[in-house]
Structures are given as C-alpha cells and as structure tokens.
Symmetry: C2
Subunit: 450 residues, 2 copies
C-alpha cells in the first residue's frame, strides 16, 4: 500500500475547489478511530482523483468522536467538531453521514435512524448494525429516498457487497462461503506454518495488532456471523437474520487437528457459509476442513476471500484485505462515490419490502462430511466399540488414522466420514462420549464443500 | 453451472406480467450465437428473480441475426425478428439494444452508433468494439443520456469492469495484470500438466471447443490486448488505445520453457499488464514467468483472473470463468439490471470528456527481470562469449542452468537476470544471436512482477 509520507493536509478535502461549478458533497464522519482516520486520509490524499471519478469533490463538513483531544494519525483540528454524533444528522450542514462508531445499537443505531429519517444518505462499516437492523434501516432509507450503503461492513477492501448485489445480480445463487475474519485466518495460518498451539498463535496475533485484547468477536465467530448474515441477505433476498445462524468459533481447534487435517489433504479455515438446500436456507459459521486444492484453502494470513456460485456465472472467487484502515476506507469512500454518481439503488439486492425470509434447514438435517478426533486408551476392544457406535448411527467411515501410542498410553484416532446428516453425527458423538476408553470430549469438524 | 433441463420457454420473458404496474424493459438482441442464446436462456430461466432484483421485468422485444433458420440452442421463433440489426435501434419498440455480433467495426459499430444517437441504452460483450471505439461511443452515450455498458467484454462472468470502475473507485491504482484469455491459459496449463508441446496442447483445446479453428486472436494476444486496453482505461482514466499496447502471444513458448520455468519456481502465463511508472503508462500483453506463489500462477485451465493494486485497498484478486454462454450472459444481464435500476453512471470511470491519455513508457526503458533460453554448441569458450555479451550490456545474471548435452551435441542454457531495462536486454539478445555457437534464435520472456 502506497501512502503519502508527508504530514496529512487534512483541510485539503474541505477546501477542495468545486469542479465545474459543482458544489462539494458534504460528509459528516462519526467515529475517528483507525478507520475514521483512514477515511479522512483517503479523502485528502486522493481528493483530485475522487472529484474526477465522482463528478464532484467531497468536503468533510463535520466530525464527531468520543474524545476530541486523543492523539490520532490525522490532525482533525481543522474540521468542524460535534460533541454529539447525532448532531451530524443535520441536512443543513451535511449530505452524507459516515458512521464508524461500531456496535449494533447505541449511538450508531440512533445516528442511522436520525440520518435516514431526515433524508441524509448513510454510509457505514458497521456489520453488527446491518446484520441486526439492516431490514428496518433499509425501509427507512427507501421511505426517505436516502441511500444506505455498507460495502465496508463485509471483507474491507474487497467489494463483495457490490459483487453479489450488482455484479452477479443475473444469477440464482445457490451457495457462498468465505473467509471473512482476518484474525481467525491469521491464527489458523500460523498454527499451520509453525505447528504452534492455538494460544501461542493467538498471542502472536495480539502482538502484531491483528487480534484485540479481548479477541472473542473474532475467534468465536460473531464477526464472521454478522458478515455472513449480510451476504446471505444480498444473495438470497432474505432479511439479514442473526437468529438464523449457527455459530461456532476456532478456540477448540488444536495443533493436532491442523496437522492431521493437513495429512488428509485439508486446511482448517473459519468459514461463513450460506447455501440453499431444497428451497430452505442453511446459514452457519464454523471452523471446517477445506480440501487443499480449493481456492479458499490457499488464503493465508489476515486476508479475506469469498466464493460465490451463480447458476450462469459459475464460481467466482474474490480475495483481498479484509480489515485495516486502508482497505476499510477504500470501501467507505467507494460508497461515497457511488452516491455522488447518483447510483442509489436498493439497500439490499431488492427493495426491503420484497425481502422474504426462507425456512432454515434444521441443524440435524444438514448433510455433509465430517472429521472426528478422539483420544482413547490404547487397549483391545476400543476400536470395536467405536465401529459399533458408527454402525448403529448409520455413519460410514471414509478414512481412519491411528498412530503409535503416546507416553501416557493414549492414542489419537482420527476419522473422516462419507456424506451423512448432522443428526446422525450427533448420535455418533454421544455414543463416543459414553465409551469409557474415550478420554477427552470428541471433537467434530465439518468438511466443506461436501 | 445448474441449468433447466426442460425445453426453454423462450416466450416466458416476453410475456412476463408487469410487476406492480411497471412496464417491462424492452430488449433488442443482435447476434444469436452461443452468447446470444445464453442471454435469451438466462432471461427466460431467471425471469421472476430478475424482475424482483431489477424492479421490473425484461421483455425480449426483437431479435436479429444473420441466419434466421440456423439451428440454435434456444427456439427464437417466438421473438419478433429483424433481418437488419440496425432496425433494432428503434425507440418505438426497444429500450435497450444488446449487441452480441462482435467485430470492431461493421454492423456492431453501426448499431452502437445508431442506438446511442437515438438515446437507446446499449449493452455489449464486444471487446474489440470498446477497445477501438470506446471513447467515441462513450461521448455519444453521454450526449444522448443513454447508458453504454460492457461488463461482458472483459473476463466474462467476472465482474471486473464494475470492480475497477466502482468497487475500487476510491483508489489510485498503480498496476493491474490478468489472465484474460481462457484459451491461452488452457494451452499453457495443459503443457505444464502433461509436458505436451504447444501444437499438441492447442489441438486438444480445439477438440474441446476452447480454441477456434483459427486460434490467432486468442493465442497471439489480440483478445487479451482488447481487454487490457479497456481495463487500463477504467483504472487510469485514459481513453482505450490499442496503439499504445505492445502485444506478443504464446506461440513461441515451448515445452522446454514450461519445464525450466517450473524448475526455477515459475509458471508461464499470458498476461495483460497495465501499470504506471513515473506518471507514464506501460500497457502490454505477453507470455511471462510468474512466481509460483503468486495468485495468478495458480489459475488453471480456461479460468480468468485479474489482480488490481490500489493505494488504499491493497491487492485484490478476482477469479472466475472468462468465457462461454453462461458467464458471458451473466455479465450482459447484470448490465441490463443496472440500467433497469437506474444506475447509469459514466461509461468509463469518469465522463468521457475527462479521459486523458498518458505518455507511454518506451519499450526500451521498461524495467524488469528476464528469462532467456539459448541452444548452443557444447564447446569450450561458449560460456565466456555469453558472459562477455551480458557484461558488455550491463546485465547481471541471477540464475543459470546448463544441462548435460543432447544427442546432437547441443545444450540448453537457461538464465534469469536481475532487474534491468528491455533496451539492455535487446542488446544482449542481439549479441547472443551473433555468437556462432548459438544455434537457434534466443528466446526472451519477461518475469512478472518485477
């Protein structure tokens, strides 16, 4: 990423002369953390280019954040300040409100409602807000004629919202899945590269600034779930619905799993998955085994990537940087340009009133292949007990690995199954757990795609 | 790709009831080959979905092709027929003209001019037309207020036009490069997988329908050049300019090169490249060595992929199907949906009047690393002559491979250089050619990225 090394001329965007007599589009920015400063930096650095592409210049008309005096990457002293972010929703001073506060509720939601109700266009990077309140806000936007845009809410610099909503709009999409959280992917990649256990890879991610002090949103799958709910809405015409998602994270994935998965020809990735099955919708987030030849298996480090399957376009894969000031600012400002160009369109891929929920696939009915890791006492008869449990649940084993025993007399037993239902697998895991020789709770991971 | 197996109900799109009283958008289709039939099939198969997403239904109001009676994948008998494609440019009967005839000039150009002059929006898959006449047509479109869209002209089902023009619009793009021709990539992939010589891989591509009887547009780089000129216009704000491009194809790449490249950690790919260097623009098409760890090196078979570098977004890679009826129809109909939604925007990433040519980087000044293959007589002193030629041109060798001699007493000598200029390399190649012991004309390929 190339950046201007010189001190930021923050006021440049504000005083950019109008082009061909066109009045600047007045931007109000709420939230001046990493991303907010990235947006201000982008607007200043590329001001002339943006005016050419958008047809008119942007001017930062007002900013708001919790702490005015905090040290920031950008000098915000030249911009008109509002202590209360809600004061940005002022049609007399602002044309577009950019919300970078975060959080599903609180000031972000209040600002969205106030802006859209007053006919101000609203651009946000806030996935929680859109995943929880997207349908309500879209209706507000359509009533007032304002634009509501959120390209930055999913996969940062990757224009996946636009790709699903517009680029692939001619297709009946039957599934999409993506690596949507760079923190989790960084941790899993490091475990694979170095053999480090989870805790060590997490600590490294924290040292490098990829993971926060409290990493639970990233590693427990919540962040990926927000993004998956948004993509599912765009792809399948449903309202975003967090309650429809099954969410698991990556905390339970061990270095042992990474190594065995690799031996079996897989990588372990945290995926957000949404797919149609017989007219019902299956939405979930979990760590799963991905065949090493798949495009997503090769995505390393903090990158993001999404694969979308359309009935006419076939598979499309898009990969890039999913987080950070630069990529997120790129997405936020792309939305500003679209609004400047007059490309309002619907908030989702159709008017909000036409979004229609689909029945969810009950978890027990989901079909797939599975990976199971067991640690068992190495004695005669254990394998028979395991085989019987599988037989009784009607689950067929594809591959089985057993290694020489550890010092403590236990052995790891790794198996993958042929296609079966999650209900059947739950039965298998219960039976395994009841076997006395099984030492730890068994771990089950899904294999994607089936 | 999932398709309806039942006979196509082609008239379905034509009689689709209006949704909410919205009049159908009337489409005129010129050219009913593979892609034209794909568009008709998509409009029929996904009619209800398209109406929901576009806000109104599409109706095929008229079609035109050279031969009405030709056997086609779709029954076109139910659509109003025009013998002369120019008759589609009729505002009384048609809202949007879809041009799938092909060719930079002739009826395609005449139809584009007539449609746009009469205020009819124009959607095309014709890369030659846009590469040669895009700026002129964009001005026509902007004068009449019609939309001119060409998502299908570059990389079929991959929405790369939209990605560069809109998704990454906030970025100063400094380079892009892509695998833009599936035929050439299929041939190079097969050579790599099977060790087959070029002619054999080409024959296989022809048998499988990936290459035409006369494959020159694909394998000589012309098709890739059209697409590169279009992407360069979108990324750098220049008018598309075929005269600014250096174009080489893949005919001269041998199985020997594929094998040595692999040994050195590279794949050979036909790339379209456009990059800024000190405010000048370098546009070219050639086979080159790509490090095997690069995203584009892993693109196999007839797929397409493009990598774009933005100053804030960083690198974005998008991969998918670049040709064929389904992917191309997906792109054409995406353009129709955008027009139905009222997203007109400029034809390129800014109004055509603001497109500004950039100076070209003279070929001799281009910098890069290079691969050279020589066949030489295996006798004392040859290596010294070669080393002296390199020294005299100031070119520094990175790696050198010499193998045991062949039955005819010759040996292959493969070398890669450190960064240097193409001018210096041209001097080296001239000196090599003058050495008596050098048996064949030396082959030089570029290594990308530098």
């Amino acid at each position: 990423m190339k950046r201007t090394a010189s001190p930021l001329e923050a006021p440049a965007a504000a005083v950019e002369p109008t082009s061909g007599g066109t009045r600047p589009l007045r931007i109000g920015v709420a939230g001046l953390g990493t991303v907010g400063c990235g947006v201000l930096e982008l607007l200043a650095t590329n001001a002339a280019l943006l005016a050419r592409r958008a047809g008119r210049p942007f001017a930062v008309a007002a900013v708001s954040a919790r702490d005015r005096r905090r040290r920031r990457a950008v000098d915000v002293g030249a911009f008109p300040w509002r202590d209360n972010p809600l004061d940005l929703a002022d049609p007399g001073a602002v044309d577009i409100v950019v919300e970078l506060i975060g959080g599903a509720d609180g000031p972000a939601l209040a600002l969205a409602r106030a802006s859209l109700a007053r006919g101000l266009s609203f651009v946000t990077a806030n996935k929680a807000l859109i995943a929880h309140h997207g349908a309500e806000l879209a209706i507000l936007a359509e009533q007032s004629g304002a634009a509501l845009r959120f390209e930055a809410a999913v996969a940062g610099g990757i224009p996946i919202v636009k790709t699903v909503k517009e680029g692939l709009a001619a297709n009946r999409i039957d599934r999409l899945h993506g690596i949507l959280n760079g923190t989790a992917n960084f941790i899993l990649s490091r475990m694979e590269e170095t053999g480090a256990p989870f805790a060590e890879a997490l600590a490294e991610a924290q040292r490098k600034g990829y993971a926060e002090a409290d990493p639970s949103f990233d590693i427990d799958g919540v962040d990926t779930a927000h993004k998956t709910a948004i993509l599912a809405s765009l792809a399948f015409g449903v309202p975003p619905d967090m309650t429809a998602l099954t969410v698991e994270g990556v905390r339970h994935v061990t270095d042992v799993d990474i190594a065995y998965a690799r031996e079996l020809g897989y990588r372990i990735k945290l995926l957000g998955i949404a797919r149609l099955a017989d007219g019902r919708l299956d939405q979930r987030v979990h760590a799963c085994l991905v065949e090493e030849t798949e495009a997503l298996a090769r995505v390393r480090g903090a990158a993001n990537a999404i694969e979308v399957h359309g009935d006419f376009a076939g598979p499309t894969v898009i990969e890039g940087l999913g987080a950070g000031a630069g990529p997120t600012a790129s997405a936020v400002v792309a939305d500003l340009i679209e609004i400047a160009r007059g490309n309002k369109g619907s908030t989702f891929s159709m008017p909000a009133s036409r979004l229609t929920p689909l029945d969810a696939v009950p978890a027990a009915e989901r079909r797939g292949r599975f990976y199971v890791r067991l640690r068992v006492v190495d004695r005669i008869g254990v394998m028979a007990e395991i085989a019987i449990a599988l037989r009784d649940s009607g689950v067929s084993v594809e591959r089985l690995i057993q290694r020489a025993r550890e010092d403590d007399g236990s052995v790891h037993l790794i198996l993958t199954t042929h296609e079966t239902s999650e209900g059947a697998m739950r039965g298998v895991i219960e039976s395994f757990t009841a076997i006395e020789a099984v030492l730890d709770p068994p771990l089950m991971l899904r294999i994607e795609p089936i």
